[in-house]
């Protein structure tokens, strides 16, 4: 647990104490942490990316931990929403962990965001440092949103810290069959705010509803609506479970060569995404889509 003085630290003091690269402190405005599993489902990844993009577009600074999975999706989403995002690191700000996120770290800086850390330059990744980092993330944020967290995940530490610091805690629901949503559902049962779209988060922060004016318009904005000219086989795909071309061919009684081709056409249009074990429906509109 973090020392009490740090826990109650005034915002300005905390901001000044952190080592930083990039624009720091960030521009004024609400700050929301989006955290979750390092190995999310396609659904969790899409949810984190979509929420971050919408929040960033509404002027919220999106905070996350630069880890694999949900963290990376949150940073990417904020950048794609032309917003500011801050990575709170468990290492010194002069090293990127994991190394695979070197490019992402550069993109965060290029988009006007920052990499910050409470640890001195040169601090390598140490297991015991990450819970303290999670406290800092909560301290920096007005609200913490958990997207997919299994039991005992680091995201739950961040949520716990947020509760102790009297910050808002919110969670994105998932499938009742998914072990990745056990943690999020436990938070919801204990009273965390339900997140179905960015507006839910903005409302808790007392901010306007101009991001998604029409609640009924949300599904279309989230990409659920079917493009009229788009190949209808897309409705046979799930947004959480990968379906293989073979399964689809069997279900639709079509030659597998044709199904592979039609899925590839949908992939080119950004309507489906390919994962290792098959295809899922893409929730976010791909950049190349009209």
């Amino acid at each position: 647990m973090s020392p009490p003085d740090e826990r109650r630290a005034p915002d300005a003091l905390l901001l000044a104490q952190l080592h930083a690269r990039g624009r720091w402190p960030p521009p004024d405005g609400p700050r929301v942490a989006i955290v979750g599993s390092r190995r999310p489902s396609p659904y969790g990844e899409a949810a984190a990316e979509q929420l971050s993009a919408d929040l960033a577009g509404a002027g919220v600074v999106v905070i996350s931990g630069l880890a694999l999975g949900i963290d990376a999706a949150a940073h990417r989403g904020a950048i794609s929403g032309d917003g500011i995002t801050v990575a709170v690191m468990g290492t010194g700000v002069d090293m990127v962990y994991p190394a695979a996120h070197t490019r992402l770290a550069e993109d965060i800086l290029a988009a006007g965001g920052a990499l910050v850390s409470q640890f001195a330059a040169g601090t390598p990744p140490r297991r015991q440092n990450f819970p303290a980092r999670n406290w800092t993330m909560a301290a920096l944020s007005d609200a913490v949103v958990v997207v997919e967290a299994g039991e005992g995940s680091g995201a739950l530490i961040t949520a716990g810290a947020a509760l102790e610091l009297h910050k808002e805690v919110m969670a994105v629901p998932g499938s009742i069959f998914s072990p990745l949503s056990v943690g999020s559902h436990a938070l919801l049962r204990e009273g965390a705010g339900l997140v179905q779209n960015a507006r839910d988060i903005l409302a808790v922060l007392g901010l306007g509803g101009e991001v998604l004016d029409d609640p009924l318009g949300a599904p279309e904005r989230l990409g659920f609506a079917l493009h009229p000219e788009r190949d209808g086989i897309v409705i046979h795909l799930s947004d959480t479970l990968a379906v293989s071309a073979a399964e689809l061919a069997r279900k639709l009684q079509l030659p597998v060569a044709e199904v592979i081709g039609r899925l590839t056409a949908l992939e080119l249009d950004g309507a489906v995404r390919r994962h290792q074990s098959g295809y899922v429906r893409a929730l976010r509109r791909g950049k190349e889509r009209a």
Partner: protein, 323 residues
Amino acid sequence: MGAHADSLEHDLVEVHGQEEARRALEVAAAGGHHVLMTGPPGAGKTMLARCLPGIMPGLELAEALEVAQVRSLLGELPAGRPLDWVRPFRAPHHGVSMAGLIGGGAGLALPGEISRAHHGVLFLDELAEFQASVLQALRQPLESGRVAITRSGGSVVYPARFTLVAATNPCPCGWAGDGQRNCRCTPAVIDAYLRKLSGPLLDRIDLKVTVRRVPLGELASEPRGEGSALVRERVRAARQRQVERQGFLNAQLKPARLRQLASLEPASRRTLERWAEQKGLTARGFHRAWRVARTAADLDGSEQIAEAHILESLGYRLHDVAA
């Protein structure tokens, strides 16, 4: 020519489900393309690979003679039955030495597994477990269909025109992406594992498919597919078209000939170019997808390469997606 006995030892009719992999094998057999299958243990990768020789037409006389020559050099020609019409199938263990796979040994260099697989199939199971240097040595024969081995006593060239079928688990524990079992590998470990596979060898494999495990309970209800004999007839017709058009299989088409013999309809070209741009395809990758589309069109009995053929060929480019 009595190429195939009535019943094959490994027949596709025994394979339940796995439509994607079956189709990839058909395209491989038709155009001489190499295949990579990714899937968890027990998904049937070995069974699928063993079915490949049976969906290729039997050896021609000239081919059978070359196969016999390699066997003769090794002193392995069966007495009384020198000519074998069935295509070779070789499956060396991942511990195989350089000499064992490529050829070599003391004194006169002897043909290795790749030459024993000449005009047939070389199956490399657990691809990530092979020594990197051994896999590296496959590049030249994969391009040229021959292998040159230089020893102190001189150098020899052996034929090695084989279809490569490689198989791998999706991660070290084998269960990444499986619906029934949880993968225990960390993302970093999976990354390192896939990196081992990537690079020049993977770049030369045209067809990449995912193979999923069929749960035991569903095995009985999974439909059986066509038998090997039916598939072989389509493969034979597609090969015939290629031989009449250009004298050899599509996998060996050089880019210049490809432009000549595999003209793309405007929509097909646009689609291929869109993919190349989105996924950052290299020129090599671009031509590989084009060759596979040529084969898909040949299986369709079509001289023109339609957009559907290009789209199918792009569907086998699994690793563009990971990038």
